[in-house]
């Protein structure tokens, strides 16, 4: 029976109809509009880079070479400016593309015809998501020459380049999926676009401000790895990740159950799935707790809390080396395991955004199917 699941999954994946994607690409890339967007994007990404480079050079000339950044530092400063500028641009540009994807079909009265075709809900949603993500990827790629220039200026490793670009791509996946999700949820384009921007504003601006006020008060915002993480911090971490874990687990278990036992009673499904979810979540929480109290966990967990936030995640990838140096200076037991901090940070942050994107995508497909 389980092989059946696998086969069906594979079959469905291969049968995925790319025509929605082709169709969207045709419309979005037609005429000069898309290229205007690419051009403006590159320009907006370059301006902060040039400004920082000019500023740094000016400081250097004012206060002598010793006071200004060195050549290697200059490349790094420019790269950091580029990374933040691109993150902002991705968060700003993609929602507009994603949030209208489904609502626009409804408003133009083409949705009814689309639903009557042989395209499955996942064909439609995946096709549209794929194009927005591809658009994000193209936007990111247009800035690669600038990034290469930063590498040439020095101070940027190829690893940094890889980490930052894959991370930005993961954020693009997440934003696109968020926009698309709201596009299936909300009836009108305006509503969906506004909702997406409002959520992003809260997530990226209001939440960090709130955290920066709250977290120090809770004694949790602690850059010193020798200090144990506060109880409140640990609890909120366990709760946050526990909930995310429980939700994903619940969805997965229900999916599995429905494929294994097609004709079982609903109440039985609910009881079994909820019970298994609770047990596994409890185990997860205990595991997470013990990791948090472990020295490495101590360091990773306060990092992890900031990862769900796009700018914090980027900061951590960009400044991981500096943090590593700080840990080395602190010279505690935890420092020994700090060597791969940048890789860990990148893996966790990127993984989380991709995971959130996939969860939103799955929800969108479900919603689209239900709304017929």
């Amino acid at each position: 029976m389980t092989t059946g699941v696998l086969e069906r999954g594979l079959y469905r994946l291969l049968r995925f109809n790319p025509c929605v994607a082709v169709h969207e690409l045709r419309m979005r890339m037609r005429g000069g509009r898309a290229f205007v967007v690419f051009f403006v994007y590159t320009l907006m990404a370059i301006i902060p880079v040039l400004l920082t480079v000019a500023m740094t050079a000016w400081q250097g000339s004012m206060f002598g070479p010793g006071m200004g950044m060195s050549q290697t530092g200059l490349g790094r400063v420019a790269f950091i400016a580029l990374a933040y500028a691109q993150l902002s641009l991705i968060l700003f540009v993609l929602p507009a593309y994603a949030a209208g994807a489904i609502t626009m079909e409804r408003e133009k009265r083409t949705l009814e015809m689309l639903r009557a075709t042989l395209l499955s809900p996942s064909d439609v949603v995946t096709g549209k998501l794929g194009v927005v993500v591809a658009f994000g990827a193209i936007l990111l790629m247009t800035s690669l020459p600038v990034a290469a220039w930063c590498v040439l200026l020095g101070g940027v490793a190829l690893g940094d380049l890889f980490y930052v670009y894959t991370y930005l791509f993961a954020v693009a996946v997440w934003v696109a999926a968020l926009g698309l999700f709201l596009s299936t949820l909300v009836r009108r384009s305006i509503g969906a676009i506004v909702a997406t921007y409002v959520i992003l504003l809260i997530w990226c601006v209001a939440l960090p401000i709130l955290l920066s006020i709250l977290v120090p008060m809770l004694g949790f915002y602690n850059w010193d790895p020798t200090q144990p993480i506060g109880y409140v911090g640990a609890l909120s971490l366990i709760t946050g990740f526990g909930l995310l874990y429980a939700w994903l687990l619940f969805l997965a278990l229900r999916w599995l159950w429905r494929r294994l036992f097609k004709h079982a009673a609903r109440w039985l499904e609910t009881v079994v799935v909820v019970a298994v979810t609770l047990i596994l979540t409890a185990l997860f929480a205990i595991g997470l707790g013990s990791i948090i109290w472990h020295p490495l966990g101590q360091a990773v967990s306060w990092v992890a809390l900031s990862f769900v936030h796009p700018y914090a995640g980027l900061s951590f990838i960009l400044y991981a080396e500096a943090a590593e140096a700080a840990f080395a200076a602190a010279g505690t037991a935890a420092t020994a395991s700090m060597a791969g901090l940048q890789t860990y940070s990148w893996a966790i942050a990127t993984g989380l955004f991709v995971l959130m994107g996939v969860a939103l995508w799955a929800r969108s497909v479900g919603l689209f199917r239900k709304r017929s």
Binding site: M27, A116, S372
Partner: protein, 308 residues
């Protein structure tokens, strides 16, 4: 072929489609007629599997719409009443997209696109942008889209609405051509005249109920006894009309211009009693004539104009 049994759809407290049943055989052209809000669109959407019925079953070409919607979609071409077109899209791209959406292999699509464009007389518009087409052309394009996967069954929701008389006739000719191609056509309209000479079967729906369904001959046979009386009086026309409407053998009576049109449903060849009754009641009858009830009149009578 289409088989509908006890189809029902409710929106909140409103029953938009109420327990309707009918059969459309292969090669039939079924005209589905009813006033605004009667439930035509709701019915068609259920047949096209874009709306789930509350109860009842529908099978199309032997496939149940609830059990196997994909098989139904594969053999059904659906043209909604209101439809949009994508901007920034050329006519052939539009058709190519829907061809792909119906899983027509890409090698076959260019040929099919040529065929449907030919059929809908849009061949010279192949490379135009869809949103630049006129309303009538868009309607024909939508029909072309409906035909792209060569479906056996066509569900057309008011395909001629909003068109000028000439375009209406063109659409009608096109539909007649499709009927000859042995397609099963299900077409809705609120104008009976439009369907009368195109369809061989007719269903009349009002307030969600199927008032009458059958072949045009059957309906005509039912009408054979029915006559319309055209009566003129020199005085009290309105009173005479009310008087007639109150009589049991008169189905309905109304004033059209300067005459009363009354539908006679009594025993055959007893119409003279109506005249006697009128005269006895003191109306000065100027003329009294009768004519065959047209489909149109029957439709007006059946639906009573009771639009929700």
């Amino acid at each position: 072929m289409i088989e509908v049994r006890g189809l029902t759809k409710r929106f909140g407290t409103l029953t938009a489609v109420n327990d309707i049943s009918f059969t459309v055989d292969r090669g039939d052209a079924f005209g589905f007629i009813g006033p605004n809000g009667a439930g035509k669109t709701t019915t068609i959407r259920m047949l096209a599997t874009t709306l789930k019925p509350d109860s009842g079953t529908v099978t199309i070409n032997g496939h149940d719409i609830a059990q196997d919607p994909a098989a139904v979609r594969a053999c059904v071409g659906y043209m909604p009443d209101f439809f949009g077109v994508y901007d920034d899209m050329k006519v052939w791209e539009y058709l190519d997209f829907f061809g792909a959406a119906y899983r027509v292999p890409w090698q076959r699509r260019p040929g099919l696109i040529g065929d449907v464009l030919e059929l809908t007389d849009l061949s010279d518009k192949r490379d135009e942008y869809v949103d630049a087409l006129s309303r009538g052309m868009k309607q024909r394009l939508c029909l072309a889209k409906t035909l792209i996967h060569d479906p056996d069954v066509l569900l057309l929701d008011e395909p001629a609405s909003g068109l000028d008389p000439r375009a209406r006739i063109e659409i009608r000719q096109l539909l007649q051509q499709l009927c000859k191609m042995d397609k099963t056509v299900f077409i809705s309209s609120h104008i009976l005249r439009e369907l009368a000479d195109l369809c061989n079967k007719i269903g009349i729906i009002e307030q969600g109920r199927l008032v009458m369904a059958g072949s045009v001959e059957e309906i005509s046979a039912q009408l054979a006894g029915g006559k319309t009386l055209i009566i003129r009086t020199t005085n009290r026309l309105q009173e005479a009309c009310d008087f007639l409407a109150g009589r049991p053998e008169i189905g309905s009576a109304e004033i059209v211009e300067d005459a009363i049109e009354a539908i006679y449903q009594g025993e055959p060849d007893q119409q003279h009693r109506v005249l006697s009754a009128l005269v006895e009641a003191g109306f000065q009858v100027e003329s009294f004539a009768e004519q065959e009830t047209s489909l149109e009149t029957l439709y007006m009578q059946l639906t009573k104009g009771a639009v929700s």
